[in-house]
């Protein structure tokens, strides 16, 4: 493939190679254009003729396909960004979203059991609303990656933060059920107990292989 020799030809090829959408693609191309024009103008100011300055600017920028490929975030990050977008939408209506999700359960328990037991849903509801509000207030992209990084740095705190809500909810549920004097057995809840350490294990950050870390 021939090397583009004009800024516009370069940008056309660069844009074609970019695997980005809409506004972000336009921003990247605009930045590249600004850069190339500035590089060309500086070349001219340094004594090059306009044509040579343009070619030098293009060559210094790098191969358009190679540079464009570096903007491709890869599948994991793309999925993460998509989830971020969903989270931001979800976070825009945290109370409504969580309430709609939990309301049927609260209604069923209230009607068939006790309104007091239904209060057990309050801690997870409040936790979810709080998380939603945090996301709404931040308006940040990539918080998921940072949360993942934080998990690696502070595994114990991560476990407490992610499992704490569920443990708190279960504890509140049992306490309220006991207070309500429910005739229903709570034994089925014990089925969930093995899930906690299982979740803990699955959530645990990968540890370095001891054999590889300590070769004999």
């Amino acid at each position: 493939m021939t090397v583009p020799t004009t800024i516009e030809a370069f940008l056309e090829r660069f844009e074609r190679a970019l695997r980005l959408s809409g506004r972000r693609r336009r921003r990247v191309v605009d930045e590249a254009r600004d850069h190339l024009i500035e590089a060309r103008d500086r070349g001219v100011a340094a004594g090059l003729d306009a044509r040579s300055a343009e070619i030098a600017a293009i060559e210094a920028f790098g191969d358009p396909a190679a540079v464009a490929s570096r903007f491709d975030p890869g599948l994991t990050e793309r999925v993460s960004r998509d989830l971020d977008r969903f989270d931001r939408w979800y976070g825009a209506h945290p109370a409504a979203g969580v309430t709609i999700g939990i309301a049927p359960w609260v209604l069923v328990i209230t009607l068939s059991w006790s309104p007091l037991v239904a209060l057990a849903f309050l801690p997870p509801w409040a936790t979810s609303v709080w998380i939603g509000m945090q996301i709404t207030n931040r308006h940040e992209v990539g918080y998921r990656s940072r949360l993942w990084g934080w998990k690696q740095q502070h595994p114990a705190a991560y476990q407490i933060a992610t499992n704490g809500g569920a443990v708190l909810g279960a504890a509140a549920y049992l306490a309220l059920e006991w207070m309500a004097g429910s005739p229903h057995p709570t034994g089925w809840l014990l089925l969930l107990v093995p899930l906690l350490p299982l979740g803990w294990l699955l959530n645990a950050p990968r540890r370095p292989d001891s054999a590889a870390a300590n070769p004999a």
């Binding site: 921003r27 600004d34 850069h35 590089a39 790098g62 975030p73």
Partner: protein, 107 residues
Amino acid sequence: MRGEILKGHLDLLLLATVAARPGHGYEILAELRRRSDGAFALAEGTVYPALHRLEAAGMLTSRWSVVDGRRRRVYSLTGSGRRSLATQQKELDQFVVGVRAVLGTAS
């Protein structure tokens, strides 16, 4: 300097450069070149994916601004970027000390 070495430290170098003074891509690159005395030779275009990545990670923030009569995307450091820069600097210092010790060139 070999590309792989530079690539491994590009985020740190960019954060340090932007921390010194916010600027657009070309300015950041020129400042990086000036401060390194030309030691870091990299394809100029590769700076932009790195800047975008750092922005997506919340370490940089950017906005369109008019510089010398042209509309430019100007990058500046966030609080998270400042903290990350400090952490990365510390890690690099420890790494350099370790490598020097292994090579027997510790001062």
